[in-house]
Amino acid sequence: MASAAIPHPKRRPPPFRSVTRSALLTLPIALWALLMFTPTLRSPGLNQHIGAFATIAFMTALFFLMMRTGKTYRWRRWFFVALGFLFPVGFIASLIHLRGSMSISLEHMLGGDTPFCHMVIPMIIIPAALTRTVIFPGSILPTASNPHSIAVMIALWLAFTLVLGKAWCSYACFFGGIEEGFAALPKHIKIRKLDPRLRLVPWALLIVVAVLSAALFEPFYCRWLCPFKTVTEFPTVTSVQTAIQMAIFVSLFIGLVVVLPFLTKKRTQCGFFCPFGAFQSLFNKINLFEIRFDRTKCVDCTLCQTACPTMALSAQSIREGKTLLNCMKCGACVDSCKKHAAVWHLKGTPVAVKPERARLLFLYGAWALATMLGGSILANSLATIIGFLPLR
């Protein structure tokens, strides 16, 4: 009688690093997170303290897991999705606290109370260069009623861009996490075939939006096309025009940020629409970190192409051992590659010689900045949510 074959239990791969080594590598990030939240912890407010402690623990734990498992995308996604879903909570609460409403009125625009967001940057460059005028109703320096001033946001963006290039889109953009969250929900891809020409849409939109904004002297994308107005602030509906604008914002949000990411498991707004993302791709040229492919190990299985959330890989680019310009260094391709052919790389060094060193150098910068910007958003939003809970 033949005995039934006993299936092998699915073995977990051995950890990438020992606990001690991972903890030692995490220590600088833990100290950095503590340093970032020291002002919050010194000021009064129990909710703020809980929010800060939870964020320190969260960011440190995720970095430890990155070190322990050798996976980047998997753990970064927890942070990024949390950022995407918690940002609107804290932001809307602060809007309501400061001005009593989520919608922005004419009075707020006149008072310079519109918070500046990074999406506006490509639109203000031409008018600012030609006339030194910012075509956005914010304030240049922070004020009591508008801490998110133009100069501060530009400074933040500049620092991130110098360190990370297009990785801004996977470590800092507080909008991208929403669609990454919806893309993570289904187990299987429902729509597999996507036209590669869709990658060109953000570039076309970038040109159109930059030219129209300069010609009309208004931030065209913010006025007509931004899907995230749905979950941040929007103009008060006072006319047919503002009603049409709202309808466009909501439709784009539902289509590009909720439904299509769910069906394709891709970040469709980021990959196929966002003009800021296209603009940010240009900075990959001057950034030192990138993803490369070791052709001696690659078996052309296309797992990396399937995993890439923004279609930043093509068969041609993989054959050349590179990603496309719109790679946002999220690490999905590296995590998915079973042959370890996709590797982190520091430009100027030999490919696939010390990829973990390149990954560490990139991750320390990326996680430090993510803790500073995203972490403060998480802590603030958590404190807001705790404030709403009926705990007493």
Binding site: G100, L110, R132, T133, I140, L141, A159, V163, G348, L361
Partner: protein, 170 residues
């Protein structure tokens, strides 16, 4: 040898980017913001109202008269002059004032305003042009966005009077 140099430069660059990341919240953020502010860039006058040309003192309040704002070529805004009555809290609930906008010693507009007790509510009123250079309007009743408005903002009551002729210059 060339490759070795390149690799050394790459690691120096990576170390520098880490230093930039570490310095951002303490030094660079403030320095970058100040540098951006020092470039002399300013928010478009369509939103801010531009710069103050003259201030006239009245009994219990002051009137700031701004320089005329001439929008850019394709900008969907009419030329206007902004007038700010401040402080808004000291204004009578109903008042009327005649303002000389161009500084020629003769009043150009007569403004009648109703200031609501609720400071978050919109004030209403009428602007009567006393010559052809400016346009009359009444609010509520007409809405031309940024060039024709009566609103409260930053402790002032703002009135924007649309300009008829092209006498305005930025």
């Amino acid at each position: 040898m060339h490759k070795r140099f390149l690799a050394v430069f790459a690691y120096i660059g990576a170390a520098l980017s880490l230093i930039v990341a570490a310095c951002t919240p303490f030094v660079l953020l403030g320095a970058f913001s100040q540098a951006v502010a020092r470039t002399g860039i300013h928010v478009d006058a369509v939103y801010t109202g531009g710069t103050i040309s003259r201030t006239v003192m009245r009994d219990g309040y002051q009137v700031d008269i701004y320089r005329p704002v001439q929008p850019h070529a394709l900008q969907n805004v009419q030329p206007f002059v902004q007038i700010a009555f401040r402080p808004a809290d000291s204004l009578p609930l109903r008042f009327s004032d005649e303002i000389d906008l161009d500084g020629d010693g003769r009043p150009d507009v007569r403004i009648r305003l109703v200031v609501p007790k609720d400071r978050n509510a919109r004030p209403t009123g009428e602007v009567f042009a006393l010559n052809d250079a400016y346009r009359s309007f009444r609010l509520p009743g007409s809405d031309r966005g940024f060039s024709e408005l009566i609103a409260q903002s930053n402790g002032a009551l703002l009135v924007r009077v649309p300009i008829n002729s092209q006498l305005a210059s930025r």
